[in-house]
């Protein structure tokens, strides 16, 4: 059985590793993490891997930020329905609202605990498990 592919998008390799560790605690080896350091690279990954079932993305990144990437995903014929959860150190109401308005399915504020990440992702992880 193929592993579920989850795309982690962050210009910090440290944060990508932290998120990968969080997911491993929830899903064990039952997933495969793809990584991208900016929005443009993430879109390329989605084109190459249309089977990706969840995207966790930083909000602010160089070159193409998370909002622009999210809008491109929602406008995509093949990736529009993929759940996208934004992760950001800026967690004011306006930042959250701008992400959700752009089509984000969830928002995780940094700093976070493993439990808080898993709680935020639980609806999406449950769907992945059911597939």
């Amino acid at each position: 059985m193929d592993k579920h592919k989850i795309l982690l998008v962050d210009d910090s390799s440290t944060m990508r590793k932290i998120l990968r560790t969080c997911l491993q605690q929830a899903l064990g080896d039952g997933f495969c993490a793809l990584e991208a350091a900016d929005g443009a690279s993430a879109l390329q990954q989605l084109r190459e891997h249309p089977e990706v079932c969840l995207v966790l993305s930083d909000l602010n990144m160089p070159d193409m930020d998370g909002i622009a990437m999210l809008e491109a995903i929602r406008a995509s014929a093949t990736a529009a329905r993929i759940p996208v959860v934004m992760v950001s150190a800026e967690s004011s109401q306006s930042r959250r609202a701008s992400a959700l308005d752009a089509g984000a399915d969830g928002y995780i504020a940094k700093p976070f605990t493993v439990d808080s990440v898993l709680l935020a992702l639980s609806p999406f992880l449950a769907k992945i498990d059911a597939q």
């Binding site: 950001s88 150190a89 004011s92």
Partner: protein
């Protein structure tokens, strides 16, 4: 009765209302509204307006959409900054409801567009509201009241949550940015209604410990690139949380991507000495320093050159 707005303006007690308009009765109307406290002065052309602007503080300028013997764009282009860098609020009086709507869409500089058919009491309320909004939009925020608690809360929360490190904060110092020496320095520049920087100064062994705890790896196994990335992310998280604490009402500034310098006793020397808040924090006898230097801008800046980093 004096308009409520002007009663609150203590720093421009002698501010004048300038009127460049051929609208019948507008000067009389404004004089009745503001009474003796704010002189309402009629000017008749661009040259007279420029002279009047040089003669002292101006509270607001009321101007026709099609002013006599000059172009509205020329007027808006030459308006100087008022007290504390706040641009003179402009009320443009439109000739019709249609042109009023058009002007509201086109003129960023005009804070008020008055339709002559609008009832008088609504005009007064509109003027108060528009000028108040314009002033709030231009005024730099007062930051120092919440600054101390924001720095302490953000630093402790990030260190505790991400690295399980309970740091003890020292006494917050308020002074000027000074030369600081550290093995690892992480900086994020900010720009917006305030400009400045948020900087972490760390001894090498504490930086290694933090990175190791973030990544879950042994300190010896960390490359310089991993250390730089981890401290960059730490700087980003602390700066982002300070921003979240300070910007509950509105976005005050944007953040650059973090810059991290590593070495042995690297010395950071500021080119300009700016107001700075310094928070020493300790963890198991190792001390780090969080420096926050945020200076209100007289006018909102264009934002930092780098893209934001979340």
């Amino acid at each position: 009765m004096m308009p409520e707005l002007l009663q609150t303006r203590t720093n421009q007690a002698t501010g004048r209302i300038l009127v460049l308009s051929s609208t019948p009765g507008i000067v009389k109307f404004l004089r009745e509204g503001w009474g003796e406290e704010r002189p309402v002065i009629a000017v008749h052309n661009l040259a007279a307006l420029l002279v009047a602007l040089q003669e002292g503080p101006v509270e607001a300028l009321f101007i026709d959409e099609e002013p006599p013997r000059c172009e509205l764009g020329d007027i808006l282009g030459v308006l100087p900054e008022g007290n504390e860098g706040v641009r003179v609020p402009v009320a443009v009086m439109a000739t019709s409801r249609e042109s009023e709507l058009r002007r509201q869409q086109q003129l960023d500089d005009a804070v008020l567009v008055v339709d002559p058919a609008t009832p008088k009491n609504k005009v007064v309320a509109w003027i108060r509201h528009a000028l108040r909004n314009a002033r709030q939009a231009h005024e730099p925020p007062a930051l120092d009241q919440d600054m101390a608690s924001a720095i302490v809360a953000a630093t402790k929360e990030v260190m505790q949550t991400m690295m399980d490190m309970e740091v003890t904060e020292g006494s917050l110092q308020v002074g000027k940015t000074n030369a600081q020496t550290a093995d690892v320095i992480g900086t994020i520049h900010v720009d917006g209604f305030v400009r400045g920087s948020i900087t972490l100064f760390l001894p090498g062994d504490l930086a290694q410990t933090i990175a190791q705890r973030m990544l879950g790896e042994e300190p010896a196994g960390l490359s310089d690139a991993e250390l730089v990335d981890a401290i960059g992310e730490l700087t980003n998280m602390i700066a982002g949380n300070i921003k979240t604490h300070l910007c509950k009402q509105r976005e005050l500034f944007g953040m650059s991507t973090p810059m991290v310098t590593i070495g042995r006793e690297v010395r950071r020397v500021p080119v300009r000495k700016e107001l700075a808040f310094l928070l020493p924090c300790s963890w198991q006898d190792r001390q780090m320093l969080v420096e926050v230097s945020l200076v209100p801008q007289r006018q909102r800046g264009p934002g930092v050159a780098g893209r934001e980093h979340g």
